[in-house]
Protein backbone atom coordinates (compact mmCIF):
# COMPACT_ATOMS: atom_id res chain seq x y z
CA UNK A 1 0.00 0.00 0.00
CA UNK A 2 2.95 2.28 0.34
CA UNK A 3 4.69 4.07 -2.46
CA UNK A 4 7.47 2.05 -4.06
CA UNK A 5 9.60 5.16 -4.09
CA UNK A 6 9.57 7.89 -1.50
CA UNK A 7 8.21 11.23 -2.60
CA UNK A 8 9.92 14.52 -2.04
CA UNK A 9 9.15 16.23 1.27
CA UNK A 10 7.93 19.79 1.56
CA UNK A 11 10.24 22.25 3.24
CA UNK A 12 8.79 24.53 5.89
CA UNK A 13 10.34 27.20 8.13
CA UNK A 14 10.70 24.67 10.92
CA UNK A 15 11.70 21.58 8.95
CA UNK A 16 10.33 19.04 6.50
CA UNK A 17 6.69 18.05 6.11
CA UNK A 18 5.08 15.14 4.36
CA UNK A 19 1.95 15.58 2.25
CA UNK A 20 -0.77 12.93 2.59
CA UNK A 21 -3.61 12.78 0.08
CA UNK A 22 -6.54 10.43 -0.42
CA UNK A 23 -8.97 10.89 -3.29
CA UNK A 24 -12.70 10.32 -3.52
CA UNK A 25 -13.75 10.00 -7.13
CA UNK A 26 -17.36 9.88 -8.31
CA UNK A 27 -18.12 8.35 -11.68
CA UNK A 28 -21.52 8.72 -13.31
CA UNK A 29 -22.35 5.54 -15.24
CA UNK A 30 -23.70 5.77 -18.76
CA UNK A 31 -26.47 3.23 -18.39
CA UNK A 32 -29.68 3.82 -20.34
CA UNK A 33 -31.76 4.21 -17.16
CA UNK A 34 -31.35 5.48 -13.62
CA UNK A 35 -30.13 3.40 -10.68
CA UNK A 36 -33.52 2.60 -9.13
CA UNK A 37 -36.10 3.38 -11.82
CA UNK A 38 -36.63 3.20 -15.58
CA UNK A 39 -36.25 6.95 -16.17
CA UNK A 40 -33.88 7.78 -19.01
CA UNK A 41 -30.43 9.15 -18.20
CA UNK A 42 -30.37 11.40 -21.28
CA UNK A 43 -28.21 14.42 -20.67
CA UNK A 44 -29.19 17.96 -21.56
CA UNK A 45 -32.93 17.41 -22.12
CA UNK A 46 -35.66 19.79 -20.91
CA UNK A 47 -35.73 20.14 -17.11
CA UNK A 48 -37.76 17.69 -15.03
CA UNK A 49 -38.78 15.41 -17.90
CA UNK A 50 -36.85 12.27 -16.82
CA UNK A 51 -38.52 12.08 -13.44
CA UNK A 52 -40.89 9.57 -11.81
CA UNK A 53 -42.31 8.71 -8.40
CA UNK A 54 -39.25 6.57 -7.52
CA UNK A 55 -36.55 9.17 -8.17
CA UNK A 56 -38.53 11.85 -6.37
CA UNK A 57 -39.23 9.58 -3.42
CA UNK A 58 -43.03 9.62 -3.52
CA UNK A 59 -44.68 7.61 -0.73
CA UNK A 60 -45.11 3.97 -1.71
CA UNK A 61 -42.74 4.12 -4.70
CA UNK A 62 -40.29 1.23 -4.65
CA UNK A 63 -36.74 1.32 -6.02
CA UNK A 64 -35.32 -1.70 -7.91
CA UNK A 65 -31.59 -1.85 -8.67
CA UNK A 66 -30.38 -1.56 -12.26
CA UNK A 67 -28.73 -4.84 -13.28
CA UNK A 68 -26.37 -3.13 -15.74
CA UNK A 69 -25.21 -0.59 -13.15
CA UNK A 70 -24.32 -3.36 -10.69
CA UNK A 71 -22.37 -5.21 -13.40
CA UNK A 72 -20.57 -2.00 -14.46
CA UNK A 73 -19.63 -1.28 -10.85
CA UNK A 74 -18.24 -4.77 -10.34
CA UNK A 75 -16.36 -4.63 -13.66
CA UNK A 76 -14.62 -1.41 -12.62
CA UNK A 77 -13.89 -2.97 -9.24
CA UNK A 78 -12.21 -5.92 -10.95
CA UNK A 79 -10.20 -3.59 -13.21
CA UNK A 80 -8.93 -1.92 -10.03
CA UNK A 81 -7.93 -5.27 -8.54
CA UNK A 82 -10.70 -5.19 -5.94
CA UNK A 83 -12.36 -8.10 -4.22
CA UNK A 84 -16.08 -8.31 -4.92
CA UNK A 85 -18.15 -8.74 -1.78
CA UNK A 86 -20.14 -11.97 -1.77
CA UNK A 87 -22.92 -10.11 0.01
CA UNK A 88 -23.50 -6.38 -0.01
CA UNK A 89 -26.42 -4.11 0.76
CA UNK A 90 -27.69 -0.58 0.36
CA UNK A 91 -28.04 2.02 3.08
CA UNK A 92 -29.88 5.29 3.39
CA UNK A 93 -27.69 8.30 4.05
CA UNK A 94 -30.01 10.84 5.61
CA UNK A 95 -29.61 14.55 5.05
CA UNK A 96 -31.75 17.45 3.97
CA UNK A 97 -30.84 19.11 0.74
CA UNK A 98 -33.33 20.00 -1.96
CA UNK A 99 -31.39 18.39 -4.82
CA UNK A 100 -32.38 15.01 -3.35
CA UNK A 101 -36.16 14.91 -2.99
CA UNK A 102 -36.21 11.77 -0.80
CA UNK A 103 -34.20 13.48 1.97
CA UNK A 104 -31.82 10.56 1.83
CA UNK A 105 -29.38 9.21 -0.68
CA UNK A 106 -29.29 5.49 -1.27
CA UNK A 107 -25.65 4.50 -0.91
CA UNK A 108 -23.57 1.69 0.53
CA UNK A 109 -22.13 1.92 4.00
CA UNK A 110 -20.67 -1.00 5.92
CA UNK A 111 -20.34 -3.44 3.01
CA UNK A 112 -19.52 -1.89 -0.35
CA UNK A 113 -19.68 -3.96 -3.55
CA UNK A 114 -15.90 -3.77 -4.08
CA UNK A 115 -13.00 -3.35 -1.68
CA UNK A 116 -9.22 -3.59 -1.32
CA UNK A 117 -7.96 -2.80 -4.79
CA UNK A 118 -4.98 -0.86 -6.11
CA UNK A 119 -3.81 1.29 -8.94
CA UNK A 120 -0.18 1.35 -10.14
CA UNK A 121 0.89 4.66 -11.60
CA UNK A 122 3.86 5.73 -13.67
CA UNK A 123 4.83 9.14 -12.40
CA UNK A 124 7.55 11.54 -13.49
CA UNK A 125 9.07 13.22 -10.45
CA UNK A 126 10.23 16.84 -10.26
CA UNK A 127 13.73 15.55 -11.02
CA UNK A 128 12.45 13.93 -14.21
CA UNK A 129 12.82 10.41 -12.82
CA UNK A 130 10.28 7.75 -13.87
CA UNK A 131 8.85 5.92 -10.86
CA UNK A 132 5.95 3.57 -10.24
CA UNK A 133 3.68 4.38 -7.33
CA UNK A 134 0.98 2.10 -5.98
CA UNK A 135 -2.16 3.67 -4.54
CA UNK A 136 -4.50 1.40 -2.61
CA UNK A 137 -8.25 1.47 -3.28
CA UNK A 138 -10.14 1.21 -0.01
CA UNK A 139 -13.56 0.71 -1.56
CA UNK A 140 -15.82 1.21 -4.54
CA UNK A 141 -19.51 1.55 -3.80
CA UNK A 142 -22.75 2.24 -5.63
CA UNK A 143 -25.00 5.22 -5.00
CA UNK A 144 -27.15 7.70 -6.87
CA UNK A 145 -26.52 11.16 -8.24
CA UNK A 146 -28.46 14.22 -7.09
CA UNK A 147 -30.49 16.79 -9.04
CA UNK A 148 -28.97 19.92 -10.53
CA UNK A 149 -29.47 23.27 -8.82
CA UNK A 150 -29.51 26.60 -10.55
CA UNK A 151 -28.90 29.46 -8.15
CA UNK A 152 -30.68 32.65 -9.10
CA UNK A 153 -30.18 36.03 -7.54
CA UNK A 154 -27.65 38.81 -7.61
CA UNK A 155 -24.45 36.88 -8.24
CA UNK A 156 -25.67 33.68 -9.90
CA UNK A 157 -23.51 31.76 -7.45
CA UNK A 158 -24.54 29.82 -4.38
CA UNK A 159 -23.29 32.56 -2.14
CA UNK A 160 -25.71 35.47 -2.29
CA UNK A 161 -28.34 33.62 -4.34
CA UNK A 162 -31.96 34.38 -3.49
CA UNK A 163 -33.42 31.09 -4.53
CA UNK A 164 -32.40 27.79 -6.00
CA UNK A 165 -34.16 26.09 -8.91
CA UNK A 166 -34.00 22.30 -9.02
CA UNK A 167 -34.03 19.98 -12.03
CA UNK A 168 -34.35 16.32 -10.99
CA UNK A 169 -33.32 14.79 -14.35
CA UNK A 170 -29.91 13.82 -12.95
CA UNK A 171 -31.35 12.69 -9.62
CA UNK A 172 -31.01 8.91 -9.36
CA UNK A 173 -28.46 8.39 -12.14
CA UNK A 174 -26.10 5.57 -11.08
CA UNK A 175 -23.00 6.92 -9.41
CA UNK A 176 -19.91 5.05 -8.23
CA UNK A 177 -17.72 6.36 -5.46
CA UNK A 178 -14.13 5.17 -5.47
CA UNK A 179 -12.20 5.90 -2.30
CA UNK A 180 -8.42 5.62 -2.33
CA UNK A 181 -6.22 4.89 0.65
CA UNK A 182 -4.27 7.92 1.89
CA UNK A 183 -1.26 6.66 -0.08
CA UNK A 184 -0.62 9.70 -2.24
CA UNK A 185 2.40 11.82 -1.26
CA UNK A 186 2.65 14.41 -4.02
CA UNK A 187 0.36 16.35 -6.39
CA UNK A 188 1.75 14.58 -9.48
CA UNK A 189 0.66 11.18 -8.18
CA UNK A 190 -2.80 12.57 -7.35
CA UNK A 191 -3.11 13.78 -10.93
CA UNK A 192 -1.78 10.51 -12.36
CA UNK A 193 -4.33 8.59 -10.26
CA UNK A 194 -7.22 10.63 -11.58
CA UNK A 195 -6.02 10.39 -15.18
CA UNK A 196 -5.51 6.63 -14.94
CA UNK A 197 -8.92 6.08 -13.37
CA UNK A 198 -10.44 8.14 -16.17
CA UNK A 199 -8.62 6.06 -18.79
CA UNK A 200 -9.75 2.77 -17.18
CA UNK A 201 -13.36 3.90 -16.93
CA UNK A 202 -13.34 4.89 -20.61
CA UNK A 203 -11.65 1.67 -21.69
CA UNK A 204 -14.36 -0.29 -19.91
CA UNK A 205 -16.99 1.92 -21.56
CA UNK A 206 -18.91 2.39 -18.32
CA UNK A 207 -18.75 6.19 -18.40
CA UNK A 208 -17.46 8.93 -20.69
CA UNK A 209 -15.69 10.33 -17.60
CA UNK A 210 -15.71 13.96 -18.69
CA UNK A 211 -14.66 16.24 -15.85
CA UNK A 212 -16.01 19.35 -17.54
CA UNK A 213 -19.45 17.76 -17.76
CA UNK A 214 -19.29 16.33 -14.26
CA UNK A 215 -19.48 12.67 -15.29
CA UNK A 216 -16.29 12.16 -13.27
CA UNK A 217 -15.71 14.30 -10.16
CA UNK A 218 -12.92 14.33 -7.65
CA UNK A 219 -12.60 15.49 -4.05
CA UNK A 220 -9.24 15.46 -2.30
CA UNK A 221 -8.58 14.77 1.37
CA UNK A 222 -5.39 16.61 2.20
CA UNK A 223 -3.29 16.67 5.35
CA UNK A 224 0.34 17.19 6.28
CA UNK A 225 2.51 15.63 8.96
CA UNK A 226 6.10 15.41 10.08
CA UNK A 227 7.72 12.44 8.32
CA UNK A 228 6.97 9.22 10.16
CA UNK A 229 4.35 10.72 12.46
CA UNK A 230 0.63 9.92 12.76
CA UNK A 231 -1.75 11.26 10.14
CA UNK A 232 -2.61 14.94 10.59
CA UNK A 233 -6.09 16.45 10.57
CA UNK A 234 -7.41 16.51 7.02
CA UNK A 235 -9.44 18.94 4.98
CA UNK A 236 -11.65 17.86 2.12
CA UNK A 237 -11.22 19.97 -1.01
CA UNK A 238 -14.21 20.26 -3.34
CA UNK A 239 -14.88 21.93 -6.69
CA UNK A 240 -11.92 20.43 -8.54
CA UNK A 241 -12.98 20.76 -12.17
CA UNK A 242 -9.92 19.47 -13.97
CA UNK A 243 -6.83 17.35 -13.45
CA UNK A 244 -4.91 20.60 -13.43
CA UNK A 245 -7.03 22.12 -10.64
CA UNK A 246 -6.48 18.97 -8.59
CA UNK A 247 -2.72 19.49 -8.75
CA UNK A 248 -2.93 23.20 -8.03
CA UNK A 249 -5.39 22.79 -5.15
CA UNK A 250 -3.37 20.04 -3.44
CA UNK A 251 -0.20 22.13 -3.73
CA UNK A 252 -1.93 25.22 -2.33
CA UNK A 253 -3.66 23.36 0.51
CA UNK A 254 -0.46 21.64 1.64
CA UNK A 255 1.31 24.99 1.85
CA UNK A 256 -1.64 26.58 3.68
CA UNK A 257 -1.69 23.82 6.31
CA UNK A 258 2.07 23.99 6.80
CA UNK A 259 1.83 27.76 7.30
CA UNK A 260 -0.99 27.37 9.85
CA UNK A 261 0.87 24.67 11.80
CA UNK A 262 4.20 26.49 11.75
CA UNK A 263 2.50 29.64 13.06
CA UNK A 264 1.35 27.53 16.04
CA UNK A 265 -2.22 27.12 14.78
CA UNK A 266 -4.37 24.04 14.37
CA UNK A 267 -6.02 22.48 11.33
CA UNK A 268 -9.79 22.20 11.68
CA UNK A 269 -11.47 19.24 9.98
CA UNK A 270 -13.61 20.92 7.35
CA UNK A 271 -14.71 21.02 3.75
CA UNK A 272 -12.95 23.64 1.67
CA UNK A 273 -13.89 25.06 -1.69
CA UNK A 274 -11.23 25.46 -4.41
CA UNK A 275 -11.48 28.84 -6.12
CA UNK A 276 -9.91 28.26 -9.53
CA UNK A 277 -9.74 31.93 -10.47
CA UNK A 278 -7.99 33.03 -7.29
CA UNK A 279 -6.04 29.83 -6.79
CA UNK A 280 -7.02 29.39 -3.14
CA UNK A 281 -9.12 27.08 -0.95
CA UNK A 282 -11.73 28.55 1.39
CA UNK A 283 -13.85 27.18 4.24
CA UNK A 284 -17.16 25.87 2.91
CA UNK A 285 -18.47 24.15 6.02
CA UNK A 286 -17.35 22.33 9.11
CA UNK A 287 -17.61 18.59 8.71
CA UNK A 288 -20.63 16.84 10.15
CA UNK A 289 -19.71 13.75 12.09
CA UNK A 290 -20.43 10.45 10.37
CA UNK A 291 -23.17 9.44 12.79
CA UNK A 292 -25.26 12.46 11.90
CA UNK A 293 -26.12 10.85 8.57
CA UNK A 294 -27.97 8.12 10.49
CA UNK A 295 -27.12 5.43 7.94
CA UNK A 296 -29.43 2.44 8.11
CA UNK A 297 -30.12 -0.44 5.70
CA UNK A 298 -32.70 0.55 3.10
CA UNK A 299 -35.70 -1.69 3.79
CA UNK A 300 -36.94 -1.19 0.21
CA UNK A 301 -33.92 -2.93 -1.30
CA UNK A 302 -32.60 -6.45 -0.89
CA UNK A 303 -29.00 -7.62 -0.68
CA UNK A 304 -26.82 -8.18 -3.71
CA UNK A 305 -25.21 -11.63 -3.69
CA UNK A 306 -22.29 -11.98 -6.06
CA UNK A 307 -21.64 -15.59 -7.01
CA UNK A 308 -18.14 -16.66 -7.91
CA UNK A 309 -19.40 -17.70 -11.36
CA UNK A 310 -20.83 -14.22 -12.02
CA UNK A 311 -17.61 -12.54 -10.92
CA UNK A 312 -15.55 -14.82 -13.16
CA UNK A 313 -17.87 -14.12 -16.08
CA UNK A 314 -17.27 -10.41 -15.58
CA UNK A 315 -13.54 -10.89 -15.20
CA UNK A 316 -13.46 -12.69 -18.55
CA UNK A 317 -15.07 -9.61 -20.09
CA UNK A 318 -12.28 -7.28 -18.93
CA UNK A 319 -10.63 -5.71 -21.96
CA UNK A 320 -6.93 -4.88 -22.19
CA UNK A 321 -6.44 -2.17 -19.57
CA UNK A 322 -4.62 1.11 -20.30
CA UNK A 323 -1.37 0.10 -18.58
CA UNK A 324 -1.16 -3.09 -20.66
CA UNK A 325 -2.01 -1.20 -23.84
CA UNK A 326 0.74 1.33 -23.19
CA UNK A 327 3.26 -1.43 -22.54
CA UNK A 328 2.26 -3.17 -25.77
CA UNK A 329 2.61 0.04 -27.80
CA UNK A 330 6.02 0.75 -26.30
CA UNK A 331 7.11 -2.75 -27.25
CA UNK A 332 6.09 -1.94 -30.83
CA UNK A 333 8.58 0.93 -30.75
CA UNK A 334 6.46 3.89 -29.64
CA UNK A 335 7.77 6.37 -27.07
CA UNK A 336 6.20 6.35 -23.60
CA UNK A 337 4.66 9.72 -24.35
CA UNK A 338 3.12 8.57 -27.65
CA UNK A 339 1.74 5.43 -26.04
CA UNK A 340 0.18 7.51 -23.24
CA UNK A 341 -1.34 10.00 -25.70
CA UNK A 342 -2.87 7.26 -27.84
CA UNK A 343 -4.38 5.40 -24.89
CA UNK A 344 -5.63 8.46 -23.02
CA UNK A 345 -6.82 10.11 -26.22
CA UNK A 346 -9.16 7.28 -27.16
CA UNK A 347 -7.07 6.50 -30.26
CA UNK A 348 -6.06 2.95 -29.41
CA UNK A 349 -8.67 1.25 -31.60
CA UNK A 350 -7.74 3.54 -34.50
CA UNK A 351 -4.05 2.76 -34.04
CA UNK A 352 -4.56 -0.99 -33.74
CA UNK A 353 -6.81 -1.07 -36.82
CA UNK A 354 -4.27 0.84 -38.87
CA UNK A 355 -1.49 -1.52 -37.82
CA UNK A 356 -3.73 -4.52 -38.55
CA UNK A 357 -4.27 -3.02 -42.02
CA UNK A 358 -0.54 -3.32 -42.59
CA UNK A 359 0.86 0.07 -41.61
CA UNK A 360 4.04 0.44 -39.59
CA UNK A 361 3.22 1.13 -35.88
CA UNK A 362 5.53 4.11 -35.35
CA UNK A 363 4.37 5.86 -38.54
CA UNK A 364 0.76 5.31 -37.45
CA UNK A 365 1.58 6.63 -33.97
CA UNK A 366 3.17 9.76 -35.40
CA UNK A 367 0.00 10.46 -37.33
CA UNK A 368 -2.34 9.56 -34.46
CA UNK A 369 -0.58 11.69 -31.85
CA UNK A 370 0.10 14.57 -34.25
CA UNK A 371 -2.20 15.54 -37.05
CA UNK A 372 -5.10 13.20 -36.23
CA UNK A 373 -5.29 14.40 -32.61
CA UNK A 374 -4.94 18.02 -33.73
CA UNK A 375 -7.62 17.91 -36.39
CA UNK A 376 -10.06 15.88 -34.32
CA UNK A 377 -9.71 18.13 -31.30
CA UNK A 378 -10.12 21.33 -33.30
CA UNK A 379 -13.27 19.81 -34.83
CA UNK A 380 -14.28 18.51 -31.35
CA UNK A 381 -14.92 15.02 -32.75
CA UNK A 382 -14.03 11.51 -31.69
CA UNK A 383 -12.57 9.23 -34.40
CA UNK A 384 -15.94 7.46 -34.59
CA UNK A 385 -17.84 10.73 -34.94
CA UNK A 386 -15.45 11.81 -37.69
CA UNK A 387 -15.95 8.48 -39.46
CA UNK A 388 -12.20 8.01 -39.33
CA UNK A 389 -11.03 4.39 -39.37
CA UNK A 390 -7.70 2.64 -38.97
CA UNK A 391 -7.91 1.69 -42.65
CA UNK A 392 -7.96 5.41 -43.53
CA UNK A 393 -4.87 6.07 -41.43
CA UNK A 394 -3.08 3.06 -42.94
CA UNK A 395 -3.96 4.28 -46.42
CA UNK A 396 -2.62 7.78 -45.68
CA UNK A 397 0.66 6.33 -44.45
CA UNK A 398 0.90 4.14 -47.58
CA UNK A 399 0.21 7.11 -49.87
CA UNK A 400 3.07 9.01 -48.24
CA UNK A 401 5.37 6.00 -48.47
CA UNK A 402 4.76 5.52 -52.20
CA UNK A 403 5.28 9.21 -52.92
CA UNK A 404 1.70 9.97 -53.94
CA UNK A 405 1.35 12.44 -51.09
CA UNK A 406 3.79 14.74 -49.34
CA UNK A 407 3.30 15.09 -45.58
CA UNK A 408 1.70 18.45 -46.15
CA UNK A 409 -0.72 17.13 -48.77
CA UNK A 410 -1.55 14.16 -46.55
CA UNK A 411 -2.72 16.62 -43.87
CA UNK A 412 -5.09 18.21 -46.39
CA UNK A 413 -6.33 14.78 -47.42
CA UNK A 414 -6.96 13.87 -43.77
CA UNK A 415 -8.97 17.08 -43.37
CA UNK A 416 -10.95 16.04 -46.43
CA UNK A 417 -11.65 12.57 -45.05
CA UNK A 418 -12.89 14.11 -41.79
CA UNK A 419 -15.00 16.64 -43.70
CA UNK A 420 -16.65 13.79 -45.55
CA UNK A 421 -17.10 11.93 -42.24
CA UNK A 422 -15.15 9.00 -43.61
CA UNK A 423 -17.47 8.37 -46.55
CA UNK A 424 -14.64 9.01 -49.04
CA UNK A 425 -11.32 7.19 -48.51
CA UNK A 426 -7.99 9.10 -48.69
CA UNK A 427 -6.93 8.07 -52.22
CA UNK A 428 -10.26 9.24 -53.59
CA UNK A 429 -10.17 12.49 -51.63
CA UNK A 430 -6.68 13.14 -53.05
CA UNK A 431 -7.90 12.49 -56.58
CA UNK A 432 -11.16 14.42 -56.31
CA UNK A 433 -9.45 17.45 -54.84
CA UNK A 434 -6.36 17.23 -57.02
CA UNK A 435 -4.08 16.81 -54.05
CA UNK A 436 -1.67 14.22 -55.47
CA UNK A 437 1.95 15.11 -55.42
CA UNK A 438 3.42 16.17 -58.76
CA UNK A 439 6.41 13.89 -59.16
CA UNK A 440 6.04 13.34 -62.87
CA UNK A 441 9.43 14.50 -64.14
CA UNK A 442 8.19 15.88 -67.43
CA UNK A 443 5.61 18.08 -65.76
CA UNK A 444 7.97 19.21 -63.01
CA UNK A 445 10.83 19.85 -65.42
CA UNK A 446 8.80 22.42 -67.32
CA UNK A 447 7.98 24.32 -64.13
CA UNK A 448 11.56 24.12 -62.88
CA UNK A 449 12.88 25.50 -66.17
CA UNK A 450 10.44 28.41 -66.00
CA UNK A 451 11.43 29.22 -62.42
CA UNK A 452 15.15 29.07 -63.20
CA UNK A 453 14.68 31.31 -66.27
CA UNK A 454 12.63 33.84 -64.31
CA UNK A 455 15.17 34.19 -61.45
CA UNK A 456 18.64 34.74 -62.97
CA UNK A 457 19.94 36.65 -59.92
CA UNK A 458 19.03 33.91 -57.48
CA UNK A 459 20.56 31.31 -59.80
CA UNK A 460 23.78 33.34 -59.92
CA UNK A 461 23.84 33.61 -56.14
CA UNK A 462 23.54 29.86 -55.80
CA UNK A 463 26.26 29.31 -58.35
CA UNK A 464 28.32 31.77 -56.32
CA UNK A 465 28.07 29.52 -53.25
CA UNK A 466 24.91 30.80 -51.50
CA UNK A 467 23.39 27.36 -51.28
CA UNK A 468 20.56 28.43 -49.01
CA UNK A 469 19.08 30.57 -51.74
CA UNK A 470 17.77 27.41 -53.41
CA UNK A 471 14.95 27.47 -50.85
CA UNK A 472 13.44 30.49 -52.57
CA UNK A 473 13.32 28.58 -55.87
CA UNK A 474 11.78 25.49 -54.27
CA UNK A 475 9.16 27.81 -52.81
CA UNK A 476 8.32 29.15 -56.25
CA UNK A 477 7.94 25.68 -57.71
CA UNK A 478 5.64 24.78 -54.77
CA UNK A 479 3.61 27.91 -55.41
CA UNK A 480 3.26 27.08 -59.09
CA UNK A 481 2.07 23.55 -58.24
CA UNK A 482 -0.13 24.67 -55.30
CA UNK A 483 2.11 22.78 -52.91
CA UNK A 484 1.89 19.53 -54.79
CA UNK A 485 5.44 19.23 -56.09
CA UNK A 486 7.48 16.38 -54.66
CA UNK A 487 10.06 18.37 -52.62
CA UNK A 488 12.87 15.84 -53.12
CA UNK A 489 12.46 15.64 -56.85
CA UNK A 490 12.05 19.41 -57.13
CA UNK A 491 15.38 19.88 -55.39
CA UNK A 492 17.11 17.41 -57.68
CA UNK A 493 15.71 18.99 -60.84
CA UNK A 494 16.54 22.52 -59.67
CA UNK A 495 20.15 21.60 -58.90
CA UNK A 496 20.53 19.93 -62.27
CA UNK A 497 19.12 22.99 -64.03
CA UNK A 498 21.35 25.42 -62.09
CA UNK A 499 24.50 23.40 -62.68
CA UNK A 500 23.72 23.08 -66.38
Amino acid sequence: MSATSTAALLEGETGAWELVVGLEVHVELQTATKMWCGCSTDFGGPANTNVCPVCTGQPGALPVANEQAVADAALLGLALGCDIAEVCRFHRKNYFYPDLAKNYQISQYDVPLCHDGRLDLDVTTDEGEQVTRRVGIERLHMEEDTGKSLHVGESGRLHGAEKSLIDYNRCGIPLLEIVSDPDIRDPETAQAYLRELQAIVRTLGVSDARMEEGSIRCDANVSVRRPGEELGTRCEIKNLNSVRSLGRAVRYEARRQIDVLEAGGEIVMETRHWDEGRGVTETLRRKESVTDYRYFPDPDLVEIHSSRAWVEQLRARLPELPAASRARLQQAGLSAEQAATIVAGGLLALHDEAVAAGAEPVAVANWCTGEVTGQLSSAALTPAEAGLTGAHVAELVALIDDGTLSTKLAKDVLAGVIEERGAVPPAEVAEQRGLQQVSDEGELQGIVDEVVAANPETVEAIRGGNDKAIGALVGQVMKATRGQADPKKTNELLRAAIEA
Partner: protein, 98 residues
Protein backbone atom coordinates in the same frame (compact mmCIF):
# COMPACT_ATOMS: atom_id res chain seq x y z
CA UNK B 1 -33.43 3.08 27.91
CA UNK B 2 -34.08 6.69 28.70
CA UNK B 3 -33.30 9.58 26.38
CA UNK B 4 -32.02 12.84 27.82
CA UNK B 5 -33.63 16.14 26.80
CA UNK B 6 -30.41 17.02 24.94
CA UNK B 7 -30.54 13.81 22.93
CA UNK B 8 -34.14 14.58 21.99
CA UNK B 9 -33.13 18.08 20.89
CA UNK B 10 -30.25 16.66 18.85
CA UNK B 11 -32.50 14.16 17.06
CA UNK B 12 -35.12 16.86 16.50
CA UNK B 13 -32.43 19.13 15.09
CA UNK B 14 -31.36 16.46 12.60
CA UNK B 15 -35.00 16.18 11.51
CA UNK B 16 -35.26 20.00 11.28
CA UNK B 17 -37.91 20.13 14.02
CA UNK B 18 -38.04 23.04 16.43
CA UNK B 19 -39.33 21.76 19.78
CA UNK B 20 -40.37 23.75 22.83
CA UNK B 21 -39.10 22.63 26.23
CA UNK B 22 -42.60 21.30 26.97
CA UNK B 23 -42.54 19.20 23.80
CA UNK B 24 -39.09 17.87 24.66
CA UNK B 25 -40.35 16.84 28.08
CA UNK B 26 -43.37 15.17 26.52
CA UNK B 27 -41.48 13.38 23.73
CA UNK B 28 -38.50 12.12 25.73
CA UNK B 29 -40.44 9.34 27.55
CA UNK B 30 -42.37 8.47 24.38
CA UNK B 31 -39.21 8.04 22.33
CA UNK B 32 -37.66 6.08 25.19
CA UNK B 33 -40.54 3.66 25.26
CA UNK B 34 -40.26 3.09 21.49
CA UNK B 35 -36.57 2.30 21.96
CA UNK B 36 -37.40 -0.07 24.83
CA UNK B 37 -39.87 -1.85 22.61
CA UNK B 38 -37.34 -2.28 19.83
CA UNK B 39 -34.72 -3.42 22.31
CA UNK B 40 -36.67 -6.60 22.99
CA UNK B 41 -35.04 -7.92 19.85
CA UNK B 42 -31.80 -7.97 21.80
CA UNK B 43 -33.24 -10.62 24.09
CA UNK B 44 -33.42 -13.17 21.28
CA UNK B 45 -30.51 -12.01 19.12
CA UNK B 46 -27.48 -14.13 19.76
CA UNK B 47 -23.97 -14.34 18.36
CA UNK B 48 -25.03 -17.11 15.99
CA UNK B 49 -27.96 -15.16 14.55
CA UNK B 50 -26.74 -12.98 11.70
CA UNK B 51 -28.13 -9.47 11.46
CA UNK B 52 -30.83 -9.21 8.83
CA UNK B 53 -32.72 -6.35 7.30
CA UNK B 54 -35.49 -8.35 5.67
CA UNK B 55 -37.88 -11.02 6.81
CA UNK B 56 -37.67 -12.61 3.34
CA UNK B 57 -34.78 -14.67 2.00
CA UNK B 58 -34.55 -12.53 -1.13
CA UNK B 59 -31.46 -11.28 -2.93
CA UNK B 60 -30.55 -9.88 -6.36
CA UNK B 61 -33.89 -8.36 -7.19
CA UNK B 62 -32.74 -6.50 -10.26
CA UNK B 63 -34.25 -4.73 -13.20
CA UNK B 64 -33.03 -4.80 -16.83
CA UNK B 65 -31.57 -1.49 -18.01
CA UNK B 66 -34.56 -0.63 -20.19
CA UNK B 67 -36.15 2.83 -20.20
CA UNK B 68 -39.75 3.25 -19.11
CA UNK B 69 -41.89 6.34 -19.51
CA UNK B 70 -41.38 9.06 -16.93
CA UNK B 71 -44.11 11.32 -15.59
CA UNK B 72 -45.24 14.32 -17.58
CA UNK B 73 -43.57 17.51 -16.47
CA UNK B 74 -46.95 18.89 -15.41
CA UNK B 75 -47.38 15.96 -13.03
CA UNK B 76 -43.83 16.26 -11.76
CA UNK B 77 -44.21 19.94 -10.97
CA UNK B 78 -47.80 19.67 -9.69
CA UNK B 79 -46.66 19.28 -6.10
CA UNK B 80 -43.98 21.97 -6.20
CA UNK B 81 -44.58 24.86 -3.82
CA UNK B 82 -43.25 27.23 -6.47
CA UNK B 83 -42.17 26.71 -10.08
CA UNK B 84 -39.72 28.83 -12.04
CA UNK B 85 -38.14 27.95 -15.41
CA UNK B 86 -39.77 24.49 -15.24
CA UNK B 87 -37.86 23.81 -12.05
CA UNK B 88 -38.71 23.49 -8.36
CA UNK B 89 -38.03 26.87 -6.83
CA UNK B 90 -36.82 26.58 -3.24
CA UNK B 91 -35.44 29.06 -0.73
CA UNK B 92 -31.79 29.64 -1.37
CA UNK B 93 -29.66 26.71 -0.33
CA UNK B 94 -27.45 27.24 2.66
CA UNK B 95 -24.22 25.31 2.55
CA UNK B 96 -24.84 21.99 4.21
CA UNK B 97 -24.24 18.88 2.18
CA UNK B 98 -23.88 18.23 -1.54
Amino acid sequence: MSLSPDEVRHVAGLARLALTDEEVAELAPQLSSILDYAEQVGEVAAEDVPASTHPFPLANVLRPDEPRPSLSREDVLAGAPEVEQDRFAVPRIVAEEG
